[in-house]
């Protein structure tokens, strides 16, 4: 194994966290998110503008000389923790991480231009693959004939908000403007309304070639996405635990706070343990991605295999321990549960990550 990963948060990272948290406290309160997901536009354009343009967070992973902030996955992970805590409906993971990573794997002026456009936050990109895609998968839904693209991809996250699609085909990776002729984006009714999915159809749409083979860029993008998704899941779980502890201390039944009943205390302590573990593994994945460690594949697989079920477990327990109020539309827990459960399918299920891990650490199935 290579050098020890740094599993802590630096002072700068903590400063970044509090800046993002302040913004989200002011501009992403749960009632607003609830109202938004029922309207025509689930994404929060104003919040995205604040985060991406004013704070410059969309360009964290992009080097300064290429139009970004020259930070790393460690900082992006902290941003995602906070976005997870707020179940913020912004395309950070999809545009600032996944699409950006795909472009970072490409060379040429087309890719460079798009990269700095995404880094500025004024352009939103989406890698046109289903949100459930695993890093190792092949993508053949869209075919290219002389840069004219035809095909259909379902389940593309945040597609409705994207200005440009990065489309993997057997003939290479292409960029297609969302406004181009022959492109249709049809929103789907999504289990997680805060990260909505859409079907993207290309009918002889004009593409610009980014790379002759799509696989390396897609693999890199999905690996970074899976690794950093763990930080979003951590943030989500962290918020749920804090809220549930607060609630069970305040809610009285049988003349005492329900949080004083041992059956509940033990469950909450167990959730705390899981969150503590999730933090170590999410940090490990972020650090491995940031340092380009040889251990990155293992770190990402471990992070997803552990953190995804933890987020779901904490959300399910949070709902149960809130009793009737937890079951209502008005309380935000359901937003968290929906995000947690869909994230456990996103970018590879636990089982897929474990299978990959078995290969990586030489523990093969029979």
């Amino acid at each position: 194994m290579s050098t020890q990963p740094d599993l802590l948060y630096s002072e700068d990272e903590e400063a970044l966290r509090s800046a993002v948290r302040d913004l989200l406290t002011d501009h992403c309160a749960a009632p607003a998110v609830l109202a938004r997901i029922e309207g025509d536009e689930p994404h929060d354009r104003a919040l995205w503008k604040n985060l991406a343009e004013s704070m410059g967070l969309a360009g964290l992973l992009v080097p300064e000389e290429r139009g970004g902030q020259g930070a790393s996955h460690r900082e992006a992970a902290v941003v995602l923790e906070e976005l997870g805590r707020a179940v913020a409906p912004v395309p950070y993971l999809t545009s600032a991480v996944i699409a950006t990573e795909a472009l970072l794997a490409c060379v040429g002026s087309e890719a460079e231009t798009l990269l700095s456009a995404l880094a500025s936050g004024r352009t939103v990109g989406a890698l046109t693959v289903p949100l459930s895609a695993t890093p190792g998968r092949e993508f053949t839904d869209v075919r290219a004939t002389d840069s004219s693209l035809t095909g259909r991809v379902t389940g593309v996250a945040d597609a409705a908000f994207a200005d440009v699609f990065l489309v993997p085909t057997p003939d290479g990776l292409f960029a297609v403007d969302a406004s181009a002729d022959g492109v249709t984006v049809a929103p789907q009714t999504s289990f997680d309304p805060t990260r909505p999915l859409a079907t993207v159809t290309f009918e002889a749409a004009a593409g610009r070639l980014l790379a002759d083979t799509a696989a390396p860029a897609v693999r890199r993008a999905l690996r970074a996405g899976a690794g950093l998704l763990a930080s979003e899941q951590l943030g989500l779980a962290d918020w749920l635990l804090t809220e549930t502890v607060r609630y069970t201390r305040e809610r009285h039944q049988f003349n005492r706070p329900v949080g004083s009943f041992q059956a509940l205390k033990h469950r909450l302590a167990q959730l705390w343990l899981e969150v503590v573990n999730a933090r170590a593994t999410a940090r490990n994945a972020a650090d491995a991605l940031a340092t380009g460690s040889d251990d990155t594949d293992v770190a990402v697989a471990v992070a997803q295999a552990y953190t995804a079920p933890v987020a779901v477990h904490v959300a399910e327990e949070a709902l149960q321990l809130h009793g009737g109020i937890g079951m209502t539309w008005e309380h935000p827990i359901h937003l968290y549960l929906k995000r947690a459960k869909s994230s456990a399918i996103a970018l590879g299920t636990v089982g897929r990550h474990r299978e990959e891990l078995a290969e990586l650490v030489d523990l093969r199935a029979p």
């Binding site: 005492r256 004083s260 909450l268 705390w272 573990n277 170590a280 593994t281 523990l363």
Partner: protein, 394 residues
């Protein structure tokens, strides 16, 4: 001037030059290391340390390990090193510190812990062993139980009741008990593994000089808190490699013996492999926090996590071995010096791991501690708080 890592490295190298590993006898080497302040660097000068930050011990250990220096076999004296020493350091008189710390560290004197009693386990403060003052001595009578390693020990940390007329937490006093004194009788207690690792200890008119009291009379519960808290801190210092614990043993079996593999076992193996790796990372994160001077509450969870993992992994290992899992290596009633997970067979590991969630505080009690002290949840309603110990129902 406070010591930094570079200075400590130099000091350690100078020490090694003056006491060559190859030619210095083991005990002489360890004794000199203590005198040089390189035993536990955060202890005061003259008591095995240099008043350095605790985290810097790792620097010394790494240098000594690289040089192939003998260690003081910490597994043999876990209670002494992990629990008795920090308590003596915090509450002992100068004379007690000088008398006890060095032989303890060098491993010449092994320690055990006379805390639990048949009627006081999780509710340790309910203990009934009596200590009555007589001149300069205390006369102690009572029975202790589950005393690990009592058969090898020279000294014990002991808590006893010195005032039954006040509520239970207030009438306890903390002592050092000489296990060779008349009236101390150690009887082996055989455990499920077949061996007798722990014991019953009967204390009959044992005379403990008042000079062996740690802390004030009646303050023993507070002193015991230091002991119990230190039980958990010990984990932070160690760095374990990937597959460092029991998971490594099972993983190797899996790799070497493809004929044992089934799909169901594979699912469970990978789940536990991931959990073991995550526990390792949490331990590493805790260690990094300690080094950075911001210890986190994670330590409170580490023991819980390891207990569960050890039990699940050792359970899986037996099933993986199939037919061989039906055999056991040795039921002889031995009285071992250490707990040896790696040196015994899978059956032993499975059975011994059951103790991990009981010894040093049960998992249930630790979950209470996490819930109340870390999460700030309300305490259980208490019925014993303001009642004199003698009036409690037993």
């Amino acid at each position: 001037m406070s010591l930094d890592a570079a200075r400590l490295r130099t000091l350690t190298q100078e020490f090694l030059a003056a006491h060559p590993v190859a030619t210095t006898p083991r005990e002489e080497f360890l004794s000199a290391r203590f005198d040089a302040g390189l035993a536990w660097v955060h202890y005061p000068e003259g008591l095995g340390g240099l008043d350095a930050p605790r985290a810097l011990q790792a620097v010394v250990d790494a240098e000594l390990e690289a040089a192939g220096a003998p260690d003081n076999d910490p597994r043999r004296n876990g209670i002494g090193l992990g629990m008795a020493a920090p308590t003596v350091l915090r509450y002992g008189t100068d004379e007690q510190k000088r008398r006890f710390l060095k032989p303890l560290w060098v491993g010449q004197e092994i320690w055990c812990q006379l805390f639990s009693e048949p009627g006081a386990g999780s509710d340790l403060a309910a203990l009934g062993t009596r200590a009555v003052r007589e001149g300069d001595d205390w006369i102690v009578n009572g029975q202790k139980v589950w005393t690990s390693g009592a058969h090898n020990s020279r000294f014990a940390i002991l808590i006893a009741r010195t005032d039954p007329d006040v509520p239970k937490h207030r009438g306890i006093t903390y002592f050092v008990c000489d296990m060779t004194d008349p009236g101390v009788e150690v009887r082996p207690l055989r455990q499920i593994t077949g061996e007798a690792e722990f014991n019953e200890v009967f204390l009959t008119d044992v005379r403990i000089p008042d000079a062996h009291r740690l802390g004030e009379t009646g303050d023993g519960w507070k002193v015991a808190q230091t002991t119990l808290n230190n039980e958990r801190v010990a984990i932070g210092g160690m760095r374990i490699p990937r597959e460092g614990g029991l998971i490594g043993i099972v993983a190797d079996t899996w790799r070497e013996r493809p004929e044992l593999r089934t799909h169901d076992l594979h699912q469970r193996l990978m789940t536990l492999w991931v959990e073991a790796e995550v526990a390792r990372l949490t331990g590493e994160r805790l260690r990094q926090q300690l080094v950075a001077g911001h210890p986190g509450p994670e330590g409170a969870g580490m023991k819980l996590g390891f207990a569960r993992l050890n039990q699940q992994i050792s359970g899986l290992e037996l099933e993986l071995l199939g037919e061989e899992g039906l055999l056991y290596d040795d039921w002889t009633m031995r009285r071992p010096e250490i707990v040896d997970f790696a040196g015994r067979d899978a059956g032993y590991r499975y059975l011994r791991a059951k103790g991990n969630s009981i010894e040093g505080g049960t998992s249930e009690v630790l979950l209470n501690i996490v819930a109340e002290r870390v999460l700030g949840l309300p305490p259980e309603p208490r019925t014993d708080k303001d009642v004199a110990w003698k009036d409690l129902s037993r």
